[in-house]
Amino acid sequence: MVRIAIRWLVSSAALLFAVTALTFVLASLAPGSAVRAVLGANTSVTPQQCAQVKHQLGLDEPLPLQYWHWLYNLLHGSLGTDLFSGQPVTAALGTRIDASLSLIVATIVVSGLADVTVGTVSAVRGGVTGRILDTLTVFGFALPSFWLALILIEVLAVRVRLFPTTGYVALDSDPGQWLRGIVLPVLTLSAGTTAAIARQTRDSMLQVFGRDFITALRSRGLPLRVIVWKHALRNAAIPVVTTLGVVFIGLLGGTVLVEQVFAIPGLGEAAVTATTNHDLAMIEGIAFYFAILVVVVNLLVDISYAVLNPKVRVAV
């Protein structure tokens, strides 16, 4: 057990290092310059001013040294400072992670419940019903998310006015407005997950249904409902949980677009702004947060294996 924990810690640290280092390099190679961004629309800027700002930002140092400074600060509990606002990156991102997690977790909950149900029904009912459900899941996956978002806004926000077109209200500020605010973005994000989760559920359920213990349960006269929801689904759950984990990680990227369209102040929106401004500290901070989330989700998925399958616990 200890060995496994150590292995997990080492692999997680390696992942964090690789992600942040790669992000650092890629962000540095991107066209444009933080110096110009900092100087703004100054039409009279001199090369000396550029050099001064570059020095102030530490951008005149070699890239490995810049990364080392960032890493050193990280080990001392600091993700640096936003180049422009002067705000600590942790504070800047702290106000945003709530919005992103609200969207992602709500999407996972909605997708998990809806898609697992659809996949299960498709597997159990089969025939025309199954094919219709399968087609619908693929259709949802094929819909461009930006297009779907605009349609949802036009219909449900502008015309029917059930939901706000944009914005986000924190859960602890007003739960009702929080819920209204995330419905459309969550629907948008959920559409893209249907194929992966529902089809994985269906395939896993079909496999389980072909196994001997299901036949034995049927021969004992157990109702189909009990066989499906109590026995089959639990056995089919591991690949589904894995898929949910993958979907969760995919949603980290998916929120970038959705947060932009719905003007939600989350990490994705911050990522776009930081990249445009070449705000390396913010970019690194966001990459670090995303990497941490990936590590945590993978850990939760691993733990869920042990919960769902006693054999895994024995192996550990």
């Binding site: 110009r36 703004g40 629309a41 100054n42 009279s44 606002s85 932009q260 445009t276």
Partner: protein, 524 residues
């Protein structure tokens, strides 16, 4: 002080001349003398005013923020001088001002007594001097206009600026249209890092940090110490950053937002939705023929070649196609009734491809030449680049377009002098301010540092002149730029403002083309 700024122009780039534009200022072409009078404010108080824009600021520090995005901090910072809706000037934190002596080098400000910052401390003349010194030290967009100047307390409530070189436009530089007159409290100057996310001004509102998400939503509440409480019209002002013009329009349609800055792509839809749409001329948009010394493209050093490109440009067609309803054709780097504007200049280069070919042949380029041009994606700029390339191809000039969606990359490309021409959107400005930005050898929009003794002489005379003499010199500068074809201006445009019926005070004029947030009132 909000959107009154011209600065807004750039909303494309929260960062740099993003989007390729520079904003400018407008203000009236008035003189530099004393004060005017602010109209009496009504005491109507509404609930929440929600305003939206496509881009957010990277900092709230008035001295380092992008001038185009200073709306976000100006609610909290009262300027020394207020530029009125009609373009005139009125007292702000200064009650009167004047130039001492001749030559436009000594500028005296008499300050309002009893002004308190939002933290309750009383503003002193020394605070204003300290602020001016910080303007220079901060190195922001206004720093070049004050660099080398000295600032002194010359009375209990008096400050004098002694300029290194003549500057006839101190009154304008100290209005809300620029940021140098936004005075910061002593606490703010002690902790300049905090200026990025907090406000330390003496304006009608102060930032509510608890309800603010930097880069996304900015919430302001009334400053309890503001000297003119009748001018505070809202219990709360929320400024939201939305990612697209469509999102802004949708939010206006549903009433989630009361007021927003629009653009050409949504103008008709806004009118069809019944929103109040206002706009006034502010910008010129076109090509900058930057390599006038022929360092990269030898042909551009020949004035006949540059004139040929102007003759080869069908401005009426381009405006109808790209700026219908928002722009008019122009051949000069100003807007109708703006600084240096001369109506006759707009008939200098009528569309005449045959004449263009003649000029190219006379210059030694009968078969044209090839050059590159960088453009941003702001406000039809990329489409304008494509259209110009097509038209110039008719006279043999091949243009390779570099389309930079990333505003920072675009800006770096043209500022670094690595491309001979670029598309720009530029706000009209007083010549004294425009020179260092647009056409003097050190200007960012003159990346090859082209120098002209004649133009420099006109500029030097202009900044020392006043009244009608200054106006005449403005026009001579403009004429020089047109005659020597330093640019290929295409359209004079404005910034559209969309408002719901819930608010008033969104009117704009040529003298004041940007809606001032603090002047917006509840309709009822």
């Amino acid at each position: 002080m909000f959107m009154r700024k011209i600065k807004h122009v750039v909303r494309t780039s929260s960062a740099a001349l993003a989007g390729g534009m520079v904003v400018a200022t407008v203000a009236a072409c008035g003189g530099t003398s004393s004060s005017g009078t602010q109209p009496a404010a009504s005491s109507t108080t509404g609930g929440t005013l929600t305003v939206a824009g496509e881009l957010g600021p990277t900092t709230l520090n008035p001295e380092t923020t992008n001038q185009a995005l200073c709306d976000f901090e100006e609610l909290a910072y009262e300027p020394l001088i207020v530029r009125l809706e009609n373009g005139g000037l009125a007292p702000g934190l200064a009650t009167s001002w004047h130039y001492a002596g001749t030559g436009n080098t000594t500028f005296v400000l008499n300050l309002r007594g009893g002004v308190r910052f939002s933290d309750g401390t009383t503003m002193t003349a020394q605070d204003v001097v300290n602020d001016f010194q910080y303007v220079v030290k901060a190195g922001g967009q206004m720093a070049p206009y004050f660099a080398g100047d000295s600032f002194a307390v010359t009375g209990p409530l008096q400050v004098t600026i002694t300029a290194k070189t003549p500057n006839p436009d101190f009154p304008f530089l100290l209005t809300q249209d620029y940021n140098a007159g936004d005075i910061i409290s002593p606490d703010g100057l002690k902790d300049t890092a905090a200026l990025g996310t907090q406000t330390f001004g003496a304006g009608p509102y102060e930032l509510d940090a608890a309800q603010t998400v930097s880069g996304s939503t900015y919430t302001y509440t009334p400053n309890p110490y503001y000297y003119d409480k009748a001018a505070v019209h809202w219990k709360k002002v929320v400024v939201k950053v939305m990612g697209s013009a469509e999102a802004v329009l949708d939010a206006l349609k549903t009433g989630e937002v009361n007021l927003a800055e629009g653009d050409a792509s949504t103008l008709k839809a806004a009118e069809q939705a019944g929103l109040t749409v206002t706009q006034a001329p502010l910008l010129w948009e076109g090509a900058v023929l930057a390599d006038r010394d022929g360092k990269m493209v030898k042909a551009l050093a020949n004035v006949q070649v540059r004139q040929a490109l102007n003759y080869a440009t069908d401005r009426s067609t381009l405006v109808n196609a790209l700026f219908a309803g928002v722009g008019t054709p122009t051949e000069q780097v100003t807007v109708p009734d703006g600084y240096g504007y001369l109506a006759s200049l707009n008939s200098t280069y009528p569309y005449d491809p045959a004449k263009a070919k003649q000029l190219l042949a006379a210059a030694g380029y009968p078969h044209g030449f090839t050059m590159s041009m960088v453009t941003a994606d702001y406000d039809q700029e990329n489409l304008l680049a494509q259209a110009l390339a097509q038209e110039w191809a008719q006279v043999g000039v091949k243009v390779n377009i570099i389309d930079d969606a990333n505003p920072s990359a675009y800006e770096q490309a043209f500022v670094s002098g690595t491309v001979p021409s670029f598309i720009a959107t530029y706000g009209q400005q007083p010549i004294s301010i425009e020179g260092p930005g647009l056409f003097l050898p050190t200007a960012a929009f003159n990346p090859y540092h082209t120098a002209s003794a004649a133009l420099q002489s006109l500029y030097d005379q202009d900044i020392s002149a006043s009244g009608t003499a200054a106006t005449a010199l403005d026009q001579k500068v403009e004429s020089y730029l047109v005659d020597n074809a330093w640019f290929v201006p295409v359209a004079a445009t404005g910034i559209a403002w969309y408002a719901t019926s819930s608010v008033t005070g969104t009117e704009v004029t040529t003298g004041a083309p940007l809606v001032e947030l603090y002047q917006v009132e509840p309709a009822s």
